[in-house]
Symmetry: none
Subunit: 252 residues, 2 copies
DNA sequence: TATAAACTATGACGTAACGTCATAGTCAAC
DNA sequence: GTTGACTATGACGTTACGTCATAGTTTATA
């Protein structure tokens, strides 16, 4: 019977020497024998077994399972295959979902492909204000968070931008008219819900994060200025309203 | 701004403490500061950044890529997403292929599993003939061996059997063209190996079982007829070839 | 036959993204 | 002042190998 040294078998099977040594070590494929010098010697028998191994490996079976599958003669192959199939299917479903999420995200980003110039983005602000905002945004806040909304805002069409901006302004005005009411009241909470949905155009915050965002409206000068522009202390009111909103979410 | 200790942030984000410590270590998410005692202190800023991280993580981005994505200001998000999408799609296609392979394999195995009754296996033979064949096979050859291959053959459906025949036909033709050569020669042995691999689709015979199957090809009229249909005495040739194959396996 | 080239074995370490365990220091409460 | 909860860190395990270094073996060649 022909005998093969490790690199021959490796070449035949398309594996590396180190891989075969590894398979030996974990007991997946032992050589037929070893020479006095400790060299591994394989025969056709091992080649055939290796083919079986590679079949399962191709199916993404973990080596530990393969070891059981090919060594136990009474192992229920069909059951193992079906169980594995189940797992592959779940993996596929999940991956399909991820692709979908990417598509949605990309659509959102692309829909707004036309790049707005800074002047358009910050229309209403003076040049100096623009610079200071940009600088502040860059230095003070989390780069990515700000960048994402910054970019998504920057890449909007004028129409898209106008729409979002209008939406945001309406929400702000609504908050302004309701100031003084109980932040936890239904009418205020309805506006918060709209705000929350608005925010979700840009990213999907957890409850805690949304709460944090509300706090940021007060702590951050630029945000506070934005709201307080509508009405004095509106930022604080919005913060409280968001807090109440999150309280309710948490309680559920 | 509110300050959170590591377990608070972990709970909020649904991660483990160890994971956050890990993210700190690899520079993915550094705490806002550290206390004198070395305790990590996080704020809402980190919460927001973490949310971004989790968004990409959900999409199976490796953490290293996420680090670049959220830290490099000029990183092209759309490009990165589309590239990732490409990868996910390839993964999905491959997984779908694996599922398909499993389905085909399981179909085969299930056909094999259904037990054929003797009458079906030997349809066309009389009861007496059946008994005589069984008796002969049992007595003439190593009882255990023959019984093994016998039984494994018995467990096929008609359809399964037809499929085996169909798929085995190519192998048969190859044997036919090589008849006259030394059954132990490399070229013949290669075909035997293919036959062996083919058989292995259905069950995993021991060497002895495989040898018994070879004998069965000669001793059983139906099998013999099958091979001799291709060429006179082909069954005997195949038997010899399988014998030589098993000799080599045994010799080790 | 001596030597160089090619091959082999083995241990150690690295990978990704954490989990687990052990050890030790820290903080708040009773 | 002690207990209990919390934190930090290092070490090791996980999967399926790859890479590198070191050392011994076989083979080819001069």
């Amino acid at each position: 019977m022909n005998e093969y040294k490790i690199s021959s078998l490796a070449k035949m099977a398309g594996l590396s020497v180190r891989t075969l040594q590894y398979y030996d070590r974990i007991g997946l494929l032992k050589p037929s024998k070893k020479t006095d010098a400790g060299y591994r010697v394989y025969t056709e028998k091992e080649l055939l077994k290796l083919q079986q191994i590679l079949f399962y490996r191709e199916l993404d079976f973990p080596l530990g399972s393969i070891k059981l599958l090919i060594n136990k003669r009474d192992f229920d192959m069909v059951k193992a295959l079906l169980k594995h199939r189940q797992m592959l299917e779940e993996r596929n479903i999940r991956t399909a979902g991820l692709i979908n999420t990417i598509d949605k995200t990309v659509r959102k980003l692309k829909e707004v492909k036309t790049v707005l110039k800074d002047e358009e983005l910050y229309e209403g602000f003076s040049k100096k204000e623009i610079e200071s905002i940009k600088k502040e945004v860059k230095e003070k806040y989390d780069p990515k968070v700000v960048k994402e909304s910054y970019n998504s805002v920057r890449h909007m069409t004028k129409e898209g931008f106008a729409r979002v901006k209008e939406e945001g302004e309406q929400v702000s005005r609504d908050f302004a008219t309701l100031m003084g009411k109980d932040p936890a009241s239904d009418e205020v909470q309805r506006i918060v819900a709209r705000h929350y949905a608005h925010i979700n155009n840009y990213y999907k915050p957890t409850n805690e994060m949304y709460r944090g965002l509300g706090k940021l409206y007060v702590d951050d000068d630029r945000f506070r200025a934005h709201y307080d522009k509508y009405k004095k202390d509106l930022a604080f009111f919005v913060h409280k309203a968001i807090d109440a909103f999150c309280d309710k979410l948490d309680k559920k």
